[in-house]
Symmetry: none
Subunit: 419 residues, 2 copies
Amino acid sequence: MNAEIITIGDELLLGQVIDTNAAWLGQELNKNGLRVHFKSTISDTHEAILKALYEAQQRSDVVVLTGGLGPTKDDVTKIALAQFFNTRLILNQKVLDWVTSIFSKRNLPMLESNQQQAMVPENCEVLWNKNGTAPGMWFFENDTAYISMPGVPFEMKSIFEEEAIPKLKSVFTFPEIIHRTLQTCSIGESYLADLISPVEENLPSYIKLAYLPDVGSVRLRFSAYGSRNHKPEAALNQIIKQVYELAGQYIFGEESDTLQKVVGKMLKEKNYTIATAESCTGGFVSHLLTSVAGSSVYFKGGIVAYANEIKINELYVDPKILESAGAVSEACVIAMAENLCKKMKTDYGIATSGIAGPDGGSIDKPVGTVWIALATPDKTITRKYNMGDNRERTIQRTALVALDMLRKNLSGLVQANTF
Amino acid sequence: MNAEIITIGDELLLGQVIDTNAAWLGQELNKNGLRVHFKSTISDTHEAILKALYEAQQRSDVVVLTGGLGPTKDDVTKIALAQFFNTRLILNQKVLDWVTSIFSKRNLPMLESNQQQAMVPENCEVLWNKNGTAPGMWFFENDTAYISMPGVPFEMKSIFEEEAIPKLKSVFTFPEIIHRTLQTCSIGESYLADLISPVEENLPSYIKLAYLPDVGSVRLRFSAYGSRNHKPEAALNQIIKQVYELAGQYIFGEESDTLQKVVGKMLKEKNYTIATAESCTGGFVSHLLTSVAGSSVYFKGGIVAYANEIKINELYVDPKILESAGAVSEACVIAMAENLCKKMKTDYGIATSGIAGPDGGSIDKPVGTVWIALATPDKTITRKYNMGDNRERTIQRTALVALDMLRKNLSGLVQANTF
């Protein structure tokens, strides 16, 4: 079972947009046991799309296309597909009703170009796009499946997960493959590899391990390929158990867990509340916490204290601390976190202060220096880090480390440097 | 002049690594007037690489390969290139000396696999890799240039910029190509297309327009291909001028501008300060503002008032407003924005309150209902929106719309619904 991915658009060839769709599709296809053997990116012209389709036909069982659909793209992919399958475009009334309803709900006039979205090749089955106006399309000819979707990532993802994958499963027999993902943070890839090397060295041949690093976190994905001779599920469970024994404290969740979801669930279960007092992270910690649906149950609010006067006026940081130790200091984050909890009447408080850069560094406190404090019901925990010299990554890493300090405390894990 | 990019590696096909190299190379080639007409990603096997080379030979003048080089990759690309050019691998003493010096400097033992790095196809010219042990390679045959580089991004980038581009310029005469990008927001793709249709309908054949939509924003990219008969730069300037006349109020910047950078620059120039009072956006507006280096000059701080008690205690919202009109109301966001400015002593204040969902909606105020207020030095402006039913996008769109209200006010653009 060979799959290939064709992403369409000059913006991809020009490098104006990084092709995250192709990576996401590669992961999803692979997760379902389909091997992606080829990916290509082509221009959004009729000729390029037709050529790519003829070549794909000869070598792949599943062909996934994204892009070249939409009111201003002249729906070039749709027209090329109609020619490739030697058919014509017809009006799909259900899609037209859907597009019309979107515009009337938002009280916006519908343009001629929006009506064109409801025209699809006669031989296709529409894959429903609940997030937009350009429908996905499914074709099946000579034992090959063709899936065409718009290039907007969130539209593409829901069409693929909810519409395309079930169609594929109804047509093909997928090889048996089981994936288990462990989510880790606060540990680098090579240290993690070192820690779990006893597991990795003894993996059976039918189980593969992949390290998927991101800013501040590493996912471990175990993939077991089934057959009659072994029970991959039982073997996988045993391996996962061993990994927990070796590196349990770094594992914050499984599958698609995020740190903010995990700590949110813990706070809710234990009936705790939380607030944030952010300097260098500028609101990113509270953004992560509130990105979780239902977070209003435990998250009360926060103060972004960027200027020193806000630290003094809103968080009652003693001006003497700012004069002597400075805003990026242990004394400052302790005061921020503890006063915050009193002020907002919460059980937990997270405070951050650091030098995100590129300016503001010194010999004593280079760019990347960050202090984090976590006020808990019985003590305040602090940590100092150097997060490196990239502003964006310093903000992200600091937020994740702060949430991980909270996770460890809520889990009863021992942390050093406590007060 | 057609260029193509071949990226090599199973980690790219599996989507474990997002292919940022291809995007970067696309930008660099394009900047230099070389049109990238095709990009592909292939498996790191001898067969896949050979096949890709034979196909590339037939359609491209410049072939850029990355990946499949290095001690743990078995140098598969190098071996395939030697076979493709019908030549053998020979030792390059200069490379061997370089690799040896790297290991001795770090006091590390040199392995057999590291010595192999100094073996290169006999017909290649080495492109110096000052950041690593795997050399880049340059081949020129039948008027086609082949550039092979390691996949590690910072090694690849310096080889390409410092070694490959000068070689290309010595061999080919580069065509002239000019790109101009306009950044727009607060208008949908199809409305924007409608608005600027007089420009689009009259574009000369050598100028192309692309719409690049994202959540809450659309980029317009014009590309002009030069020749002896016309002056693309002058024509492009004329077209850009017309677009500004037709849709100027929606254009917040050019090239790689972001809304937060643009409003930050305006605030700085006018010596204004700003603060945020966020409910539904949960800190995302202040995160965007503080993601800009140097934002501490104009951004003082913010209050994330998620719970009603924080709105009352920190932002002095009258409890009667919350009882009668509710937290998601015009009266509430006006109070939040105005009291915030007084409290933090800023010229501008942004306040948001809405129902991000998935719960909390009602018939009067469905999920996605959002009120935004912008307090300015002389008045407070408000807006009501329905941002749809996806939590993440409601947060993002609300933040962008709020920043765009600020931009319009700072630019002196008229906005309706003022108070």
